[in-house]
């Protein structure tokens, strides 16, 4: 018990230090660097949502971008001022019920999550009966359907034109604040009996059912919660970018998040957090590949798109040679800091297992 209190205090100190870092970062970094830091926080939220579904419950879902779209559009429509809406919807006026709504950010963010969760429940109820590959392709299909619907509902989403000039609410406190809350929720959830039920379903569905775990209830719970997180993440992303359009939420978006989850380790919260940050930063760092390079004696013409080639090649290498990802299913423990020697020796002993 005493040990636990000590750990909790350490966690609290780490949290305060981290918030302090964010405050300082907000002051000293320029807007481009802050954008990357914000993006990393949003990807932590998104990655955790997908990891809950894919990693902890073992449901291979590929519809994340669709739920993000629901969240992003909900919060955009709710927070934009009436004049802004008039400017955006010049082809056809917006549906009258939404024309004069202007909510503050926080309720809109919650609503975004809620709408995505409802979409998740509606989609999950029929498709969660399917297994593995079929589930993957059905969720992918639903993600695409949501996008196609948004492209065609001119009076609600402004169709393919998208929405421009979203209020820039997302700052480092919103993005990382949400991320921290989500991490805490996830840690508590995974430690609870629900978390153990999720893992049981992941390991062996039939055995879990035989032990009295209600498959449908737990699958739904994980799926709906994951969708909620996707919706919130999507809304934050929309308010960071300032523009949203249906093409943003293509399969590529889902792929980026799957990538984060896989690289971090499927079923590890720590892994997702680390890899969300690493992937976001890497994507920016690799930008030099798109431009031309000058080594003094030799000049290489920049090839646009090279960055993504290197990036997908890196992903392939990780999947082929290091399937467990960065963390496997391990989590961060304070023993790593207080007793690093023992941690390393145990890890070395268990390296094959």
């Amino acid at each position: 018990m005493k040990k636990n209190t000590k750990k909790n205090i350490m966690s609290l100190i780490a949290l305060v230090l981290f918030l302090g870092f964010l405050t300082i970062a907000d002051r000293i970094f320029d807007s481009y660097q802050m954008r990357i830091i914000n993006l990393a926080g949003i990807y932590v939220t998104l990655g955790l949502g997908l990891n809950l579904i894919n990693g902890f419950t073992g449901l291979f879902s590929l519809g994340h971008a669709g739920f993000m779209a629901v969240g992003a559009y909900t919060s955009a429509i709710l927070t934009m001022s009436p004049e802004l809406k008039q400017m955006n919807f010049f082809l056809k006026p917006i549906a009258p019920i939404f024309a004069n709504v202007e909510w503050p950010f926080f309720p809109a963010l919650l609503m975004a999550g809620l709408m995505a969760a409802i979409a998740g429940a509606l989609i999950g109820a029929p498709v969660l009966r399917l297994n593995d590959d079929y589930l993957a392709i059905a969720t992918l299909g639903f993600g695409e359907i949501i996008r196609i619907i948004f492209t065609n509902t001119q009076t609600l989403t402004n169709g393919a034109l998208g929405l421009k000039g979203l209020p820039n609410f997302t700052n480092v406190y919103w993005s990382w604040g949400t991320a921290v809350v989500m991490v805490i929720v996830m840690v508590l959830l995974i430690k609870s009996s629900y978390g153990r039920a999720f893992k049981a379903i992941r390991e062996n569905e039939i055995a879990a059912e035989a032990m009295g775990v209600s498959l449908f209830k737990h699958k739904m719970m994980s799926f709906v919660l994951g969708s909620f997180m996707a919706g919130v993440g999507g809304a934050l992303l929309g308010h960071l970018m300032g523009t949203i359009d249906p093409l943003m939420f293509r399969f590529l978006m889902t792929f980026n998040i799957v990538l984060i989850v896989v690289l971090g380790g499927i079923g590890s919260i720590t892994g997702t957090v680390i890899s969300a940050v690493v992937v976001t930063v890497m994507l920016e760092v690799l930008r030099f590949l798109d431009g031309s390079m000058d080594f003094g004696f030799i000049q290489i013409e920049g090839i646009p798109g090279m960055r993504m080639v290197v990036f997908s090649a890196l992903l392939m290498i990780v999947i082929l040679f290091y399937q467990r990802g960065l963390m496997g299913t391990n989590e961060f423990r304070w023993e790593w800091v207080t007793n690093p020697k023992e941690t390393i020796t145990t890890a070395w002993k268990n390296r094959k297992a």
Binding site: F60, P126, V127, D133, A136, E144, I206, G305, M308, F311
Partner: protein
């Protein structure tokens, strides 16, 4: 709607359905043997089209030589993809293989953007494929007749190979029971290589015909048809070649007819396939022609 217009739409639907069927076979064969959704299949199709394009425009080959070259090289390309991206993971959890397949798909697409450029290219069309015939009030471009005929010829060949040759028998054995087939002395690796070769060959055939019908090439062109054709394979019953063909035709005809009969739904054309998928998964998850399997505990 007059009967002529309807026939016109049917002709369009049948040629689109044939193209879908050609691609869907690749999915269904690979899934039947490896239980793997080959996400890269749509991109293999794209590579086939680009090979034909460059053989004609950069190497000035006559169209038939270019097409033959495209078919052979794409089959090789498919085999290489299997060797590099799928074989090392043969015994890993299925989720890893699926992610590897998605990764391979994105790698090929991005390579395509770098190598071929992101701008659309116009596929050169020999006048033979652009002749217009009139049947009553229905005007048919020759390519619309060629597509179903070529599809049927190659399908007949494929069905013959699968049902009447030793390799075909081995393929069926591997898809029935991987381990038992190996114990019976079948070289599973060779069979899988062969399957990928045949699947990619048909994808390239589909790609070349696709280019002749919709002559605009972009590196991401394989993505949507790829997804749709996987759906066609699921609708028909995955693992069944006949099912893939039936699914392809349902999808092709359905897409064309929905736009023709309900013009207000034109924007939702791409959603049709996904709705069809979800309906079939809920009503009959094994597909129209698939066999239901029960999992033993």
């Amino acid at each position: 709607m007059s009967i002529q217009t309807f026939m016109q739409h049917m002709v369009n639907g049948i040629s689109l359905g044939s193209l879908y069927a050609l691609l869907a076979i690749g999915y269904t064969m690979v899934y039947g043997i490896l239980r793997l959704i080959n996400f890269a299949h749509g991109d293999i199709f794209m590579i086939g089209t680009y090979i034909a394009f460059y053989s004609m425009t950069a190497f000035f080959l006559p169209w038939w030589a270019a097409f033959a070259l495209a078919l052979v090289l794409t089959a090789l390309f498919g085999i290489i993809v299997e060797r590099l991206a799928y074989r090392p993971l043969r015994n890993s959890p299925r989720i890893s293989i699926m992610i590897s397949a998605i990764g391979a798909s994105f790698l090929i697409q991005n390579l395509g953007i770098v190598l071929f450029g992101g701008r659309p290219k116009a596929f050169p069309i020999d006048p033979i494929f652009a002749k217009i015939f009139k049947f009553g009030g229905v005007s048919v471009v020759s390519i619309q007749l060629i597509i179903p005929v070529v599809t049927l010829i190659f399908l007949a060949m494929l069905v013959y190979i699968v049902n009447n040759t030793k390799t075909g028998m081995a393929m069926r054995a591997v898809s029935k029971d991987y381990e038992a087939a190996r114990l019976m002395g079948i070289d599973v690796d060779v069979i899988i290589t062969f399957t990928f070769g045949v699947g990619s060959f048909l994808a390239a055939l589909g790609g070349v015909l696709w280019g002749l019908k919709y002559p605009q090439l972009i590196p991401l062109m394989g993505m949507m048809p790829g997804l749709k054709c996987f759906i066609a394979a699921v609708v028909g019953g995955i693992g069944s070649i006949k099912g893939a063909v039936v699914g392809g035709f349902i999808l092709g005809l359905g897409e064309i007819l929905i736009v023709a009969l309900l013009p207000s739904l034109t924007g939702f054309r791409d959603a049709f396939a996904f709705v069809l998928l979800i309906v079939i998964l809920l009503v009959k998850p094994s597909g129209l022609m698939g066999k239901t399997t029960t999992e033993k505990v």
